[in-house]
Structure formats: structure tokens, C-alpha cells
């Protein structure tokens, strides 16, 4: 039941915030915050209660909920959490809380409706990370799009209508292709066994011809790599990220991109192990192209938010590289990268948001000398720029290092090319620091420093990213049992004697 509550609390909190927000904006903010904190408490309770997520056996769920939903079609409300889901749910709640705090003063219009959308997106994302029924997964997958569409198109910046439409259509098109694949998997399995079901554990190990497996997998893969996004499916990303309000960008970059990677891990690798192996080479090439292309384009941007958006393309390339490299270390690094990128990019978007709130522009040309005017802002900016370039000590470093280490074995040349991306990221990160925070302040620059709320929020983010950098082992312990079973292409329900390659 805890899993259902995790979903219901934000849904109801959103409705409450909406109905109260019309009269009192502040109450909407507090209710939303309370809902997410309550969710976080529930999750923490899950952490404390046995079986501990740290001691989870390979191939078992920490907690599971299964109830029929539309039994006529073999659809059930099947939710479950293992280490991988647990880590991503924690990230979701963390960034959710941060994004409510960071819009405390930014959003002043239609506050209630804003928080309704925000909480419903988070509920959709939580659902994606928990769903073990393919229909339910698709349901949540689509559910998170609509409020995000509203978030961008109502509270976004200048070009918001265009950006939100583009976002919606790209992701919806990918999603529909996935729907065909889900359906064909459903019928193939039904024809084989006579039981028509969307249940993920039952669908694992469906026997099908390699041709059918390839096409079915392709629908999933396209939906997921549109979300990640992988070049050439990325054009929606810079627009959506740039035009969204700060909270929207944080959720887009920090969480929504991760749902794509999560989908690859949870569904594509276990359901279609052979077909996935057959496209891994192509995916690796796309990953490396993404890493380099994103970094180069980031360097060419004059809009600070767009710059950060393009760095996402680059960083998510490492995730894709890790997922398809076939090595356990790289896979673990990819998950770590998902978490670290979520925090660091989220923080960078918040920094851009804070700058924009103060000087009402995102053009780097009109920035400079912020450090002397607002030292706390400068310090925070430096920390996350360095985290983004992969300085040791931050989570991003460990993650990218592990991805490169793991994939170097098997794909030396591609890994070397990906490593060049690190150099490029140093280039744009230092360029941000140089141009925005150093240099001569513009005459008449009025830049109030961070308030207590902003300082506290950023301090927590810094602690989190440092924790990932210094104690990555905790996270690895949580996610590795889950990754093991994913990598062996075996259902968590039925572990096989084969232990796979050790990590």
C-alpha cells in the first residue's frame, strides 16, 4: 500500500494546492511542500523497515503491490520497487522538493494551478519508476506529459507555446510507437501461452523470432531515446528546457530525461536481451556523437539556459554509453550519472533561474562580474560548474569515470572519443565561470545575493552531489542487485544459477 500512497499523496496534494491556491498563494506552496515531504518520510520509512534496501538479494523486490485493474484485458495495478527504482524515487522527491522551493518567488501567477501541475508531473514520474505493468507504465508515461505541457506553455518564457508543442509532439509520437510495441508484445505472449497479460514479470522471457523481437524492441527504444534524448532525436530539448520555468527545467532535465534511461534499463535490456545486443554498437556510436555534439553546441550558446540544456545532451550520452556497453561497472556508472546529473544540472538551472529573476535576461553577453556583487551566488555557480565538468570529489566524476572504465575494455576507440567530451565539458564549464562570474561587472549592475531560502536549498544540493562523489558506494550497493538481474536478462523473480560477470 505504501507504493499507492506514494502516488496518491502528490495527486491529492496537487488538488488541494489548486483549490486553496486561488485564495492564498502561500498555502499552495506549503501544501505542495508538505505533500512531498510526507512522501519522502514514507520512502525513508521504507528504507528503515526490513528488508533493508541495502541488503536486497539480487532478483527480489523490496516491496510490491499487485491488484487487478482491467482484468478483462489482463491489466493490473502492479507496482514494485527494487534498488534502482528506490534510488530514482529518492531523486524524484529530492528534486521535487527543490523545485517547489526554487519557484517560491519566481511563480506569482496562478500559483495553485502551477503546483497542481508540478505535483502531477512528479506523480507521473514516480509511477513510471514503479510500474511493472506495461499498460500502467504507458499510462504514467503519458500522464506526466500533460502537466509538463501546461507548465511550459503557461509559465514559460517568450517562446513557450512553440516549445511546449514541440515537446509534446516529440514525446507523444515516441510514446505511441512504444504503445504498438507493447501491444505486439502482449499479443505475441498471448499467442504463445494463451494468457493475455501486460504484466512485466510474466512477459519476461517471451519467445519470439529475432525479427519480431527487433521491431518490437525498436518501438520501445525510440520512445526512450527521444526522452533521453539521443542525437538526432534531441531538437525538442533545448527549446523545452530554455522556455520552461525554472522548476520545469529542473524536472525536465533532472527527472524526465532519466525516465528514458530507466526505460532502457528496466524494459529494453531484460525484455529483448538479444535484440538489444544487436543494436548496441549503433547506440554506442550515437552516445558518443551525443556527448561530443552536445558539448560543442553548448559552447556555442549565448543563452545561458540553452547552454545548460545542451550540456544535458552531452551528459546523458554517458548514460547511454554505460547502458549499452555491456559492462557491469559502466552500467553502475550510468545509474550514478543519472543521479549526479539530475542534481548538478538541476542546480545549474536553478542558478540560471536565480540570475534571470535578478537581471531579467539569460544572455551571457550582458553578464559578468557577478562574483564581486554576489559572492554566494558566485560560489554556488563555481561548485556546480566544476561538478558539471567532472572534477574529482563530485558525483559526476565518479560516474563518468566508471562509465569510461567499464566500456574501455570492449570499445576502446569509442571510449577514447567519449573521453574527449570531458575536455569539451571543461571548456564550457570554465567559460561559464569566466564570463558570468568573473570579469568586469557591468555598470549599474544590481545583484542581490542569495537569500536564506536560496542558500539553504543550494547547500543541500551541494551536500548531495558531494556525497555522491565521496560515498558512491552507498548508491552502488543499493542499485547493483537490480542491475545484476537486468544485465543477465533475468527476471528478478527467477534468479538463475549463472551469476554473470562480477562488478
Amino acid at each position: 500500500m505504501i507504493l499507492i500512497w506514494l502516488l496518491i499523496i502528490p495527486l491529492i496534494g496537487g488538488l488541494a494546492a489548486w483549490s486553496l491556491g486561488n485564495r492564498n498563494a502561500l498555502s499552495a506552496r506549503w501544501i505542495s511542500l508538505a505533500a512531498l515531504v510526507l512522501d519522502a518520510v514514507l520512502l525513508f520509512g521504507l528504507w528503515l523497515s526490513p528488508p533493508s534496501v541495502l541488503a536486497l538479494d539480487r532478483g527480489s523486490w523490496l516491496i510490491e503491490f499487485n491488484n487487478p485493474w482491467i482484468p478483462q484485458l489482463g491489466i493490473s495495478l502492479h507496482l514494485a520497487v527494487d534498488g534502482l527504482s528506490f534510488a530514482l524515487i529518492a531523486l524524484t522527491l529530492f528534486l521535487g522538493i527543490i523545485s517547489i522551493v526554487c519557484s517560491w518567488t519566481e511563480i506569482r501567477e496562478r500559483v495553485g494551478f502551477f503546483h497542481l501541475n508540478l505535483l502531477w508531473i512528479l506523480a507521473g514520474i514516480l509511477g513510471v519508476f514503479m510500474a511493472l505493468d506495461l499498460f500502467l507504465f504507458y499510462f504514467f508515461w503519458e500522464l506526466m506529459l500533460i502537466p509538463m505541457y501546461f507548465l511550459i506553455s503557461i509559465w514559460g518564457h517568450e517562446n513557450r507555446v512553440y516549445a511546449s508543442l514541440k515537446f509534446f509532439i516529440f514525446t507523444q509520437a515516441g510514446g505511441l510507437l512504444m504503445l504498438i510495441s507493447i501491444l505486439s508484445l502482449y499479443f505475441i505472449h498471448g499467442k504463445n501461452t494463451g494468457s493475455y497479460t501486460f504484466d512485466y514479470p510474466l512477459l519476461l522471457g517471451t519467445v519470439m523470432s529475432s525479427r519480431a523481437a527487433f521491431w518490437t524492441m525498436l518501438g520501445f527504444v525510440i520512445a526512450f531515446i527521444v526522452k533521453i534524448p539521443v542525437v538526432p532525436f534531441h531538437p525538442w530539448l533545448p527549446d523545452a528546457h530554455t522556455e520552461a520555468p525554472t522548476a520545469g527545467s529542473v524536472i525536465l532535465a533532472g527527472l524526465m530525461l532519466k525516465t528514458g534511461a530507466y526505460g532502457l534499463l528496466r524494459f529494453v535490456l531484460p525484455l529483448f536481451p538479444d535484440a538489444a545486443a544487436s543494436i548496441s554498437q549503433a547506440m554506442l556510436v550515437l552516445a558518443v556523437i551525443g556527448i561530443l555534439y552536445g558539448a560543442v553546441l553548448a559552447f556555442g550558446q549565448t543563452d545561458l539556459k540553452r547552454l545548460v540544456a545542451y550540456t544535458s545532451v552531452s551528459h546523458m550520452g554517458f548514460v547511454l554509453l554505460g547502458i549499452f556497453s555491456g559492462s557491469g561497472i559502466a552500467l553502475s556508472g550510468a545509474v550514478l550519472q543519472m543521479l549526479a546529473h539530475g542534481i548538478s544540472t538541476g542546480a545549474l538551472f536553478i542558478i540560471v533561474g536565480m540570475i534571470q529573476e535578478r537581471i531579467h535576461t539569460r544572455e551571457t553577453g550582458s553578464m559578468g562580474g557577478f562574483w564581486s556583487a554576489a559572492p554566494r551566488l558566485g560560489g554556488v555557480g563555481l561548485v556546480f560548474a566544476l561538478a558539471s565538468l567532472g572534477l574529482p570529489g563530485f558525483g559526476n566524476f565518479v560516474a563518468e569515470f566508471m562509465v569510461l572504465l567499464g566500456s574501455y575494455h570492449t570499445h576502446g576507440i569509442l571510449t577514447a572519443a567519449a573521453a574527449a567530451g570531458l575536455v569539451l565539458s571543461a571548456l564550457y564549464a570554465l567559460w561559464i565561470v569566466q564570463n558570468v562570474f568573473h570579469g568586469e561587472p557591468r555598470p549599474g549592475l544590481k545583484l542581490p545575493d542569495l537569500t536564506a531560502r536560496e542558500t539553504g536549498m543550494m547547500a543541500i544540493a551541494i551536500l548531495a552531489i558531494l556525497w555522491l562523489g565521496f560515498f558512491p558506494r552507498t548508491v552502488q550497493k543499493i542499485v547493483e542487485p537490480a542491475l545484476h538481474s537486468i544485465q543477465c536478462g533475468v527476471s528478478p523473480e527467477k534468479p538463475t544459477p549463472d551469476q554473470g560477470s562480477g562488478i
Partner: protein, 475 residues
């Protein structure tokens, strides 16, 4: 005629009696409110008599009608839709001048025509249903005589419906000449479609049905009639009229086993694909909400034709669910248009909806939900419906059609979201006066909204009912 026959016909008889009662009451006492109450209770009574009829099912009543669960299911949809249309019309017509009472009389007769179509087993009852429906609709479309567009819509519908009736009659004659029977069942279970005359006859009947369903290439009248007719009448044309004709089409063309007839199969495939594309692409260029919804309904009928192509129990269930969702959604969407309309003109311009979310949040929420349902987005019945139809398509391995359906769903998003964007854009400076939603209209919309979310979240019970209904129609 036995008691059992009368019991089976009870819903029909009640509707017919209601029509007579309403006519007589109008002659003695003109009261808008009284007429509406009579009409609504007539529909409600007819629906209440369904359990009576259900006791004696399935039953062939005279050679003309076959009353089975299938007929009752679609009949239920039609009666419920007519009920909603009548309730919505009350607040709409209340603002108008002139005689309003006859409107309901025509509505009841049109509903009766639809109901007959859903149970037709014979060419005679088929034609009777079509004509009852069409003749009432000519008058209903042009009911607001002061509006030029209304009269234009009426005349257009008159000419095209007359032509399509002629096609149907000629087709029937050809089929009869060849097979010697006017019973659908006998024709369908005959030795299949052989010979040019029989094929020509069936194709001519198809042309007539195509006009009624407004599928490409017989869709030209739709946007003009939708735009010109009063909004509640448009809602009726889009739902009850199309639903009844589709019920008939589905019943007999799946009996014919169209997958065994490559020619017919090709015709349906072409029509489905071109309806999807034409509807969605043309809707992109419209600024009139009623026209957008008209083109959208063309594409939705295209999606529905996929179930005819897929043919099988799964497809039958998919069609029934999709139509249910489509009824709810379309009634809801036109319901909002109806309630926003003013005396002088219908609220059909995109500008009328600008900032609706901030001036009239309730209506805006309903309309947005309906648009999302049309676009097939989760939490709504439209999502489950589209999912169901796609499942039927994938099951029958209609890959081309399913892929085209997906492309079209994406195209459709553009214009549905255009309306949503307008609804949520900042309101125009001059704030609309505080409107009060009429009780009848508000209740109908609230009910439709509830059903939309209910069927979207928990469709199990409905699917169960549908499975029963289609099971009996084949037995």
C-alpha cells in the same frame, strides 16, 4: 404479435408514445419547460424499460427488427445521447426567440430513427430508420431560421441525404434483384458476394452509409453542416446519428466477413486511411471550433473503420468502447460550445475560447478534458478507446493502418492543443460578465466529465457489459 414481442419493443413504443404526447401537449399548451420535462422523462422511461426488453432477448420481432443485446447497447447509447442533447438544448433554446417546442418533437423522432437502425434486420426497417432520422435532421439543422448558416446547413443536409437515400434505395434494389431477399442475415449468410450486380448493389448501399458516417470521400457536407446547425443539433448528428449507422454497418459487414473479400477490404482500408488523413490535415487550417470538431469527427470515424477491418470479437468490443468514449467526448465538447453560445451566434470562433480557463474555469476544465480525450490522452475514456482500437488492429496484424493511425494521432495533437492553448492563454482585457451555468446544462456536463474520467480510470465494468452485448449479437 405476442406479449414477449411487445416487451421487446417496449423502449421503441415508449419513444413513439412520447413523440405523440409531446405533439399533443404542444397543441394545447406551449411551454418550453414542460416540453423539455416530457421529452427527458420519455427518454428516461425508454431507458428504464430496457430491463423489461432484456428479459426476452434475443428476439426477432417481425422480419423487420432484431432486438438483441447489441441493439439494446447501441440503443442505450443513442437514448442517453439524445437525453443529453435535449437537456443541453434547453439552455440553448431558452435564449432564442420563436417556437422552441417542436425542436424536441423532432429530436425524439430522430432518436427513434437511430434506435430503429440499431436493430434493423431488413431493408425496409433500415430505410425507415434512415428516413426518420434524416427528415428530422433537415428541420433540426435549419431550426434557427433567422440564421443564414443554419438554413444553408439544412439545405445542404437535405440535398446530400436525399442523394444518399437514393443510392441506398438503388443499391437495395440491385441486391434484391440478385439475391431475392431483403433480410440482412439471409444476404450476408448467402454464398458470399459474387457477380458484378450484387457487388454494385452493396457498394451503393455503402455510399449511402458513407454519407451518413461522413467518411472520405463522402465527407464534404460535414464542416458546413456542423458549423451551421445549432450546437446541440451538431452534437446529435456527430453522436447518435453516426453511432446508429455505424452499429448497423458493423453488424452486417463483419457478418459478411470482409477480410475474405479483397475488394471490399481495399475499399474500407482506403476509406479509413483517407478519412484519418483528410480529417486531421484539414482540421489544421481551421479557426472555427465547430469546423475543427467536424474534421476531427471525420478522422475519428476513420479510426473506427479500423475495427471493421480488424473484425472479430476483440474488434467488436473495441468499436463499442470507442463509440461510447466518442459519444461522451463529443457530447461534452459540443455541450461546452452550446453553453457558451449566445443568442446571436454560436461560440464557435477560436477567440471565444481565449482565456476561458481564467474566466470560466469549470467549463474550461471540461472542454480541456474532452479535447484530451479526443486526442487520446490518459485519464480519459478516449485513451482507453484508442488503446482498444489499436489493440484490435495489432491483433489482426493491420500494421499499415495502425502506423497511419499513430501518425494521425500525432497530427491531431496540433489542433487539439491549439484550442487548449487558447483556453489557457491570458484572458482578453474586457472580462466576461459573471455567467451562471444553467442547471440542466451544468448537470449534463458534470455527468459527462465524471463518465469520461471514470471510463478512463476504471473501464472494467463497461468492458464487461460490452463483452456481453457483442457476445449475444453473434450467437
Amino acid at each position: 404479435m405476442t406479449i414477449a414481442d411487445l416487451a421487446a419493443l417496449a423502449p421503441y413504443i415508449i419513444l413513439a408514445i412520447t413523440a405523440v404526447v409531446v405533439m399533443l401537449v404542444i397543441a394545447f399548451r406551449r411551454s418550453h419547460k414542460l416540453t423539455v420535462i416530457l421529452t427527458l422523462s420519455g427518454f428516461a422511461l425508454s431507458a428504464a424499460s430496457f430491463p423489461v426488453a432484456a428479459c426476452v432477448l434475443p428476439r426477432q420481432v417481425t422480419p423487420l427488427l432484431v432486438i438483441d443485446l447489441y441493439a439494446l447497447f447501441y440503443g442505450g447509447l443513442i437514448v442517453a445521447a439524445s437525453f443529453a442533447v435535449a437537456a443541453l438544448s434547453y439552455s440553448y433554446l431558452d435564449k432564442q426567440q420563436g417556437h422552441k417546442e417542436e425542436f424536441y418533437l423532432l429530436l425524439i423522432i430522430a432518436a427513434l430513427g437511430c434506435f430503429v437502425l440499431a436493430a434493423a434486420a431488413h431493408f425496409a426497417s433500415f430505410f425507415l430508420g434512415i428516413e426518420l432520422l434524416s427528415v428530422s435532421l433537415y428541420a433540426l439543422s435549419a431550426y434557427l431560421r433567422h440564421s443564414d448558416r443554419g438554413v444553408e446547413a439544412g439545405v445542404k443536409y437535405l440535398i446530400l441525404a436525399a442523394v444518399s437515400s437514393a443510392f441506398i434505395l438503388f443499391g437495395m434494389a440491385l441486391v434484391y434483384a440478385e439475391t431475392g431477399s431483403m433480410q440482412f442475415n439471409t444476404i450476408a449468410s448467402g454464398a458470399g458476394i459474387h457477380g458484378p450486380i450484387l457487388l454494385a448493389g452493396i457498394c451503393m448501399i455503402l455510399v449511402g452509409l458513407g454519407f451518413k458516417l461522413a467518411v472520405v470521400p463522402f465527407h464534404m457536407w460535414t464542416p458546413d453542416v456542423y458549423q451551421g446547425a445549432p450546437a446541440p443539433v451538431t452534437a446529435f448528428i456527430a453522436t447518435a446519428s453516426k453511432g446508429a449507422v455505424f452499429a448497423l454497418l458493423f453488424r452486417y459487414f463483419t457478418l459478411l466477413d470482409i477480410r475474405a473479400h479483397p475488394g471490399l477490404f481495399a475499399i474500407f482500408t482506403l476509406s479509413a486511411i483517407s478519412s484519418m488523413f483528410a480529417g486531421n490535415l484539414l482540421a489544421l487550417f481551421q479557426n472555427n471550433v465547430k469546423r475543427i470538431l467536424a474534421y476531427s469527427s471525420i478522422s475519428h470515424l476513420g479510426y473506427l473503420l479500423v475495427t471493421v477491418l480488424a473484425s472479430g470479437p476483440l474488434a467488436a468490443a473495441a468499436a463499442a468502447f470507442y463509440l461510447t468514449a466518442y459519444f461522451i467526448t463529443t457530447l461534452g465538447a459540443f455541450g461546452v460550445v452550446t453553453l457558451l453560445s449566445e443568442k446571436a451566434r454560436d461560440a464557435d470562433n477560436l477567440d471565444d475560447y481565449q482565456g476561458l480557463a481564467w474566466t470560466r474555469p469549470g467549463l474550461a476544465a471540461v472542454f480541456t478534458a474532452m479535447l484530451f480525450s479526443l486526442a487520446g490522452i490518459p485519464l480519459t475514456a478516449g485513451f482507453v478507446g484508442k488503446f482498444y482500437v489499436m489493440a484490435a488492429g495489432v491483433h489482426s496484424a493491420l500494421w499499415l493502418v495502425v502506423i497511419i493511425m499513430i501518425i494521425n494521432s500525432v497530427i491531431g495533437l496540433f489542433y487539439y492543443l491549439r484550442i487548449v492553448v487558447a483556453i489557457f492563454s491570458p484572458a482578453k482585457t474586457e472580462q466576461a460578465l459573471a455567467h451562471r451555468l444553467s442547471l440542466s446544462g451544468g448537470t449534463v456536463l458534470a455527468a459527462l466529465f465524471t463518465l469520461l474520467v471514470w471510463f478512463g480510470l476504471y473501464p472494467g465494468p463497461v468492458i464487461e457489459i460490452i463483452k456481453h452485448a457483442i457476445h449475444f449479437s453473434r450467437g
